[in-house]
Symmetry: C3
Amino acid sequence: MPKTAGELAAYVGGELVGDARANIRGVASAENAKPGDLIYIESDKLLPAALASPASAVLVGKGVFARDKTLIRVANPKLAFARAAALLLPEPPLVTDRHPTALIHPTARLEESVALGPYVVIEENARIGRHTRIGAGCVVGANCEIGEDCVLFPRVTLYRNVHLGHRVRVHSGAVIGSDGFGYVRTEAGYEKFPQRGTVVIEDDVEIGAGCTIDRGALDETRIGRGSKLDNLVHVGHNVRIGPDCVIAAQTGISGSVSIGARVMIGGQVGFGDHCRVEDDVVLGGQAGILPGKIIRRGQTVWGTPARPLDEFKKTYPYWARLPELVARLDALEQKRASK
Amino acid sequence: MPKTAGELAAYVGGELVGDARANIRGVASAENAKPGDLIYIESDKLLPAALASPASAVLVGKGVFARDKTLIRVANPKLAFARAAALLLPEPPLVTDRHPTALIHPTARLEESVALGPYVVIEENARIGRHTRIGAGCVVGANCEIGEDCVLFPRVTLYRNVHLGHRVRVHSGAVIGSDGFGYVRTEAGYEKFPQRGTVVIEDDVEIGAGCTIDRGALDETRIGRGSKLDNLVHVGHNVRIGPDCVIAAQTGISGSVSIGARVMIGGQVGFGDHCRVEDDVVLGGQAGILPGKIIRRGQTVWGTPARPLDEFKKTYPYWARLPELVARLDALEQKRASK
Amino acid sequence: MPKTAGELAAYVGGELVGDARANIRGVASAENAKPGDLIYIESDKLLPAALASPASAVLVGKGVFARDKTLIRVANPKLAFARAAALLLPEPPLVTDRHPTALIHPTARLEESVALGPYVVIEENARIGRHTRIGAGCVVGANCEIGEDCVLFPRVTLYRNVHLGHRVRVHSGAVIGSDGFGYVRTEAGYEKFPQRGTVVIEDDVEIGAGCTIDRGALDETRIGRGSKLDNLVHVGHNVRIGPDCVIAAQTGISGSVSIGARVMIGGQVGFGDHCRVEDDVVLGGQAGILPGKIIRRGQTVWGTPARPLDEFKKTYPYWARLPELVARLDALEQKRASK
């Protein structure tokens, strides 16, 4: 659905400079833009490349000026670009109807406009809200509740009793509600501790491909509103993640970990069980948090065991100097001995 | 299936103190217990909270005393709780019959009471033992052998020639029998080394969601009796894992690694190829074992490269002191020079 | 399809010593060989074990000599073994026809001899080349293009617009084309940045079980010709991987990373976004590359943050000596003070 540059400027609340009637049909990166594309720049340094591209309009920051190019000035060009892209190129619907091979248990309750791909399985007493779309091969277990406008990409598994809020997106291969990893050691080996709790995924959460989110042992595992999980993230039983967290790929969160709001977590971070991360913490990639440890509000930490990044930066340069330091120590001792 | 407190005490071999006729309908954590629930405590410190909860009975250690609460005294309250939970709330069966969309190759042999969910595929010459339940969308490759009382949750793949013992549980998304990662480098690139061995999963193993277990190249990959794998664990070709190991999430085990009995492995641990870990070793989270390395029986190791935890603890505090040490060295040298 | 030792020697370009008519029916490791098997040795040290095995022929290096055993001398015994194995025991075809439950959109175009397993879903405008085999439960999204002689093992998902070259193998559970992890932070939370690019997998790539490969945000994610990915590898949006790379299990590659040709990457390596790894680099297991970092051509690096392995080896032995160094420093200071 093409728009004019003027329509887009109005839509994103920006100021148009140039040809308001320029026809915009798509979005692109500056490197690969064609005529008809909208592009954006995040920094003035990128302006010359943007102006040299054949794009028909450029989203720029306030106060940016250029001849011979249609600009849309906004406070946050990347955000305006994301919104314009969603308007110009709405995501094609994953599925649009209920495929005849989708198996719906007679006790399940699907609201209007729920779309189901081929070979979907919806088990007893599941409830699915309006406009939710479920891709091919997904399995929705008994008693699951899924809100409105959710998207489950193909081959997602929800075990029984899992709750998803509204506008939740779950990527292909993800598993939600699997047993937590809990056993009791005996002389004869391990016996299973009950894993009979639930998982609650709040509104506007996105869950990456191949993630695994275990159900609570007795209580719940919960992922807070608006949090985003990258691919192959593991969330153990009884974990609580607050709202608006961002968790990069392959991070592993052990059982009973508690994570506050707006926490930013790099890739491959590991959390020992029962540790607690307060609001607004930033964890660098591959950091390792010891079991039971508390990371205080607003800290930025890195390394294993995780310590404040500032402290790490102070000591890190000395690692490479260790041989030199020992040589100096040797020299001092020798001088002393030779006196 | 509700029980009285007296029946439960007898079932778990405990001593009842209080109301033997108290009606127990479920289990819970102390925090979320309701009347009718059984709870447990692992430490006397938790007793006041347990007594204050509305739970109808509490599993406690020997010698614990309390007024006004029905207690069941046992040697291992957590273990007794696990067993009582399994009695009170048996896991609902994953599937109970053979769905008409389950495709069974005519040469496959299924014993009585094998249950298959929708869209299951059982390929030629597969053999499946009594009471095994296979969830929706699973694929069981040619010549696989699955024992009795196994559970495959939805969307598990067994490649051809995989063997599962009895009472094996495999969680959703797991893949067993994929090709190992073996190539021969040539000037023109990589050529595939044959990956034609098997996988043997012994009795009572549990495999977490999204795990990948490669088949042997020429021989077998084997996971020993009673071992438990958390989610997203990778097991390479020709790996041998002994009995009663516990392997936390996202651990990666390279080809031809040998792991003994009762080894405890934290999350995100990495094993280089051909390393050997003897019985009763404990590996801390994110540890990295170098290729070919041997970790001796009973050691506790941590870090990359993994070293004994005691040694790590001795040296670790010095890291933060490095700037101070250099300052002291500088001072000594200056004094010496200024003499 | 059995061969004589003489036929095999001719096939692999080797020199036969011994019984040219020895009948070879299979391949094995030296440990588990039976009569009729072909084995190989990579080092002369293994020759006695090979000679003692009941194998009917042994692939050995040039100049190796032995009595009483049929040998095939070649420049690269492992490579010759791989080729002989492929000849003797061709991989059984994953699927051989189009199962009636495979759903093919009427606009999709499948060339001759495309085989589809049960419950496969091929969406609109997908194109699939000759002799490609797609296992049970795979989903091929709209507009995907798959080349000739590819194998998709069961339960692979291709999102829309994904391109696979020829002879690509994708193992079970892998997901290609999922949304990249891109959001714009606002005061109200995170808004999704468009993830509308593509994925291009070039010829002869193999992708392990459970891998996740995200589509480009606006442009493409690309994996170069002949590169091999082990299981559970994550590839973020806009990543470019060159030809003939080898990437071990559970490695995570963040968005916009660029990796050159013939790069060898150990298991559980983590790449920060926008870093660049030049040709022929070797990265040790669990290495961590900082965002934006450049690793120069031919380097071998290890650790987090990754540094040259030689440098690491120089400083590493000092870690354990830190307590000793401090004791020596203390002693020097005390002597000085007591003067």
